[in-house]
Amino acid sequence: MTAKTGPADLLTLAERLVRFGKASGADEIEVGIGDGTEFAVDVRLGEIENLIEAGSRSMGLRIIKDHKTAFAASSDLAEETLQRLIKNAVKRAELANKDECAGLPSLSSRAIDPAGLALFDPHVGRLESKAKIALALETERIALSDKRITNSHGASFVTNEGTSVLASSNGFLGEFQKTHCSLSVGLQAGETDERVEDFWFSSQTHFKDLETPEKIARTAVERTVRQLKPRKIKTQKVPVVFEPLMTAGLMGFLFSCTAGTAIYQKASFLADKLGDRIGNDKITVIDDGLLPGKLGTSPFDSEGVPSRRTVVVQKGILKNYLCNTYAARKLKLRSTGNADGSGVGPNNFYLEAGPHAPSEIIRSCEKGLLLIRTLGHGLNPVSGDISRGAFGLWIEKGEIAYPVSEITISGNLGEILNSVEMVGRDLEFSGSICGPTLKVAEMMVAGEGSR
């Protein structure tokens, strides 16, 4: 095994493996290789805690023989290992069952030029270690300068640079390079037994798009201290306002319910609902793999299907499921370019912004809960039921009154989408799944006492 890192070498290796697969008896074969470097620094209380620098490569492949599928993956890129994996996969495929929907996509005539997607920021790779460490230290220092902060989970700065190549027996050959950087800090406020905590972060493809240490630190401080001295509230049904990060969580759940793989397995409450009204006209949800410079952007998916913009929900009507080639064939639809390994993943999946300022949304609540954090899982895609631990700020007469904790919120995603009253204009692409502030007419909030 020798050290080869150039994209050209990776492409050549992928092509060679495709040829080897065909020669070993595969009807179809697809080989993807990733090569990346990682830098991460964690600082805490003004000192470096961890410093990580590394490079790693990995290969994933799929083989189809007689409409039967086998997958393999390896972080060992020795060619003898990869050839053995291919031979094993061909043998395993023979033992699987015939599946008419199995197979690679046919080669698209459309190709996206990665250059137009602004996926790679050369500045990220040129940052000196010292500068990266300084960013983390500066962020934490500003946060700790606020006397209300009593402890720190530390600040981190992370960068990644990676190359992805894909070669298929259908003739597809593609590659792109992508960068990522993120700066974050986690804080605690209050004394040991009344501790509250929160964090803030900025995560981007381009270094220049990162929020400043000052902004990240101030936001983290504000988000932490606003939870000090929480009260308990009575169990009741009230309007709930979701902050953007909370809306993103809700959209993540909606994504899993619109994934074609969940739909054909009937593992989603949205199965058999294509074309139906699933929300009110304030709900428009998009999956877009082509937004320049965003975290979920790429020229093609893991099967080489070109990325596109897909309207998932348009003014409340379910327009599209998000599919890889397999799910699309099962559902007699077309792939939306969402293949991610053997499953389906989001590109940039977001709730479209509405007309309202977040402050206006809070002012509209006579009484309500501003949801700021959740804890735990409690999401059931089959029924759409949601039940999670929650932290929030209580709203009275349109004003934030006091923080509340040790509560749970519960509801059903289907009912929530139908009872959204206001959508904020504050959509920011802080992750590959995102959304603006959102007001839901009513959810069950459990706290003290029972109903």
């Binding site: 095994m1 590394a54 997958f71 989970h153 397995q265 593992a267």
Partner: protein, 479 residues
């Protein structure tokens, strides 16, 4: 212990192509800028999976993970480098990346590595899963699938999967330790989706551990796993929404141990206490719960999913007392925290894989049995919630934690009545530990399918608990 013998017969050179001298050289490079401790972690892992759905064996997969991580500790700082390219040039780069954390004058010590064998074998694998013929494994998946499918006509979709892996690790450090382990792990699981009157629900079951395929002929058969998944989905179809509000809660024995995992286990991981972010940091030796509560973490339970012969720093693990009769007695330690806190190692330094630094983690966490009859515990509740099946939970350092219940029952006048579904329970750990009023004598463990996430690292765990009564807790249902 065939696996361990096998590993010793196949020297690490075969997987890693590195000799003992090579490893000593790498440790030397790692210490070239100083630092009190350096370590090399080598990992070779093979994962296999088989998935059956829509009546067919739909896909199989084989994955190999091979790589090396180098760690250097200088006071409270850690440098880490890793690579999956085992050319000497890349390994040297990883070692120098790790060394960059230290900056003291160098006096490179020559390390004499001594091979140590793990003192005990906690694995119980006779029919080693990764070496079994694929046909044999497909047979187990089909058996679970079919048993689930034929349980009832309302079962509309079934998915069954077998995952197995063998993880070879080798750890060498500047204390002269050279130790290896070969860890088998297998999981057979089944998901059922049942449908009735337009309503859909799902059920899950599974089993396995650090066992061989013979486990599925004796301890737990594929048919049992399939049927249990179906039964859960079918019973949820008849369940109504869970209640909302504060009420007494009784936890069913077994996987309810997730409560202990979240409420206690994480916050007694040494790193959170060393950094004083855990609500427990100033409570060592102090009473934090009811005298009925005694909690252990035990990585030495034979065949358990969370068990291991050595942790990922090469330390043989110990059954660790965390809380005795309500008083905090111990922490889960890794080398870094134990060194800085001047406390003994417990063998809880674990990592997901070679790309990660070890951190203190749980293995198999449980609350010790008490002396109440389970029936007596239920009888003591006039109106409350019986939590039966669980999905998992989460905790933050302040002690606020949640866990999700997928199904349960109402308790009315000391009897289980209507089945209910989907509720998240939330509490504050010290508060809830003090409200544990009754502990049953029926200690049981979860399904041997659990995975715990911390700082982006997933490791296999298990937890256990007897029937337990919490006098008052917030239940987040819909009604």
């Amino acid at each position: 212990m065939p696996e361990t013998r096998h590993f010793q017969r196949v020297p690490f050179e075969d997987h890693f192509r590195l000799s003992r001298d090579d490893i000593q050289r790498i440790l030397g490079i790692a210490q070239s800028s100083g630092g009190r401790f350096a370590e090399v972690y080598l990992e070779y892992r093979v994962f296999n999976s088989i998935v059956m759905e829509e009546d067919i064996i739909k896909e199989t997969a084989e994955s190999i993970s091979l790589g090396l991580g180098v760690r250097v500790i200088a006071e409270e700082k850690t440098g880490y480098g890793y690579t999956n390219d085992l050319s000497f040039e890349k390994i040297k780069k990883a070692a120098l990346s790790a060394a960059a954390i230290a900056s003291s004058p160098t006096t490179v010590r020559v390390v004499n590595l001594r091979t140590v064998h793990p003192p005990h074998n906690y694995y119980r694998a006779r029919e080693i899963p990764h070496r079994a013929p694929l046909e044999r494994k497909i047979g187990l998946v089909q058996e679970a699938y079919r048993a689930c499918q034929k349980s009832a006509p309302a079962v509309k979709k079934v998915k069954a999967a077998l995952l197995d892996q063998i993880q070879y690790v080798m750890i060498a450090n500047t204390d002269g330790l050279l130790v290896a382990d070969a860890r088998p792990l297998v999981k057979l699981s089944c998901v059922a989706i049942a449908e009735k009157r337009g309503k859909r629900e799902y059920g899950f079951s599974g089993g396995g551990g650090r066992v061989g395929l013979e486990y599925f002929s004796s301890a737990l058969t594929p048919a049992q796993i399939g049927k249990e998944a179906a039964v859960e989905a079918l019973s949820l179809l008849e369940a109504r929404p869970a209640p909302a509000g504060e009420m007494p809660v009784v936890l069913a024995p077994g996987h309810a141990g997730v409560l202990i995992h979240e409420a206690v286990g994480h916050l007694l991981e040494a790193d959170f206490n060393r950094k004083k972010t855990s609500v427990f940091w100033d409570k060592f030796g102090k009473k934090v719960g009811s005298p009925q509560v005694t909690i252990y973490d035990d990585p030495t339970l034979p065949a358990f999913r969370g068990s291991y012969n050595i942790d990922d720093e090469g330390t043989p693990p110990r059954k660790t007392l965390l809380i005795e009769k309500g008083v905090i007695k111990g922490l889960l330690q890794d080398r870094l925290s134990a060194g800085l806190m001047k406390m003994p190692l417990t063998g809880h330094g674990r990592r997901q894989d070679f790309t990660d630094m070890p951190i203190p983690r749980m293995a198999n966490t449980y609350i010790e049995k008490g002396d109440h009859e389970p029936a007596e515990i239920i009888r003591s509740v006039k109106k409350g919630f019986y939590a039966d099946k669980f999905q998992g939970g989460q905790v933050e350092d302040s002690g606020k934690f949640t866990f999700s219940v997928s199904s349960g029952f109402l308790i009315e006048n000391g009897r289980l009545t209507a089945p209910v579904k989907q509720a998240t329970l939330i509490g504050s750990n010290v508060d809830i530990l003090n409200k544990i009023e009754m502990v049953g004598h029926d200690l049981a463990f979860g399904l041997q399918t659990g995975t715990c996430s911390k700082e982006g690292q997933d490791v296999p765990v298990n937890d256990g608990c007897p029937t337990l009564k919490i006098s008052m807790m917030t239940v987040g249902g819909l009604e």
